[in-house]
Symmetry: C2
Subunit: 229 residues, 2 copies
């Protein structure tokens, strides 16, 4: 992936740069379309998608046009077709394999999250360093000793490593994942990871949406009590 100055990603479909803000919206389109498909809705307009996403309809059309010609004026988008295309664009349903490190509460919640299977992601193994956790069964898998992590990955190629450990050990785990050939890290530990440029990291900041909620509540409260002078 080539990232240029503005945080854009070069995309193969049209060899155009995809802005990071668009990349971040792709899973939202996927989710909305999956919900429509589940309700057997056949088509959807850019306006309907835009309303749900709180963006302008023209932005929806522009985003999706980066990947192909999916919509028809006056008709909208065919839900199942566009969902299929988005699944391909996002690399879903391609049998992506993951390992999870950290069998605490968050790790167990993630391991039991049913949607992953629906999207074609499979957690192949779970690792922990706590002797009381090693050997337990989580989501049908026996937790392994984290010391086996790198050897395991060398024997069983896996694309993505999930880090659900406490912050102080997350970097060490990331190093072991990288040593084992992992190309993507989904990091829930509240610490920035140093990894080679060839490795992609998605850092989940759980608190960000709580801050957004706090901001919205504060706004609303100020509106009801009148703006400060």
């Amino acid at each position: 992936m080539v990232r240029n100055k503005g945080g854009k990603y070069k995309h193969e479909y049209k060899q155009k740069a995809i802005p990071l803000t668009v990349v971040k919206r792709l899973p939202v389109y996927q989710r909305l379309l999956a919900e429509l498909a589940a309700r057997d809705v056949e088509r959807v307009s850019s306006r309907e998608l835009a309303t749900q996403m709180k963006i302008d309809p023209s932005q929806v059309r522009q985003d999706l046009s980066l990947f192909g010609s999916f919509g028809q004026q006056g008709y909208g988008y065919r839900v199942r077709y566009l969902l299929n295309e988005l699944n391909k664009i996002l690399g879903l349903n391609t049998g992506t394999k993951l390992v999870l490190v950290g069998g605490g509460h968050l790790g167990r919640a993630i391991a039991n999250y049913g949607n992953f299977v629906k999207w074609g992601f499979t957690i192949k193994a779970i690792f922990d360093r706590d002797p009381q956790v090693i050997g337990l069964t989580i989501a049908g898998l026996t937790v392994r000793d984290v010391r086996e992590l790198t050897p395991y990955l060398r024997a069983e190629p896996v694309e993505i490593g999930i880090i659900c450990t406490p912050a102080p050990v997350a970097q060490e785990v990331a190093d072991q994942l990288v040593a084992g050939g992992i190309k993507g890290i989904w990091n829930f530990a509240p610490v920035a990871l140093r990894v080679p440029e060839t490795v992609c990291v998605e850092h989940v900041h759980l608190g960000e949406s709580l801050m957004t909620l706090s901001f919205m509540l504060k706004q609303r409260q100020e509106e009801s009590t009148g703006p400060k002078k």
Copy 2:
């Protein structure tokens, strides 16, 4: 909060509409500034913030100017001052009270997430409907029966309710939170909630960042093997 067509929020500071994309970036600024402040960095340029956020420096200046005149040309932003202002804007450190419903793995992970306390959020009570979970101690709190939820909220006003229940019961819990006077819901259950317009909902979609990671990995792989013809 007044939301107009383009998904913008009217903001009291200058009575300007704050675009939702800017609202979503505020916690990121807060986090980056908190990291800088923790390292005793005194000032930061819009360019440095922009690089970390993968947006343009002009966007950083534009975002922050919506809330006041914080930066000086050629000097940048004073880290501690701007962090303080952002904390105020986000409503942090104001003693916001929360309740948590659902004492499963995710609920326990959230209850034990240390940063909330740092930001001035306090979980006052935890509720569950499982008799095996009621009475347990999670993060120093004894789990209560969810049937006590609405009466509890009527006696003890709380701003935010966190839903960590399975999807099928999330709507019922949301109704109980609303009946108890809750104004904000932080929803981890994978289901859209129906609430009155006076209630703000932040829905956490855990899988979205995994899809983003999947997309980036696919892009990178296609670049190394050459674009498809």
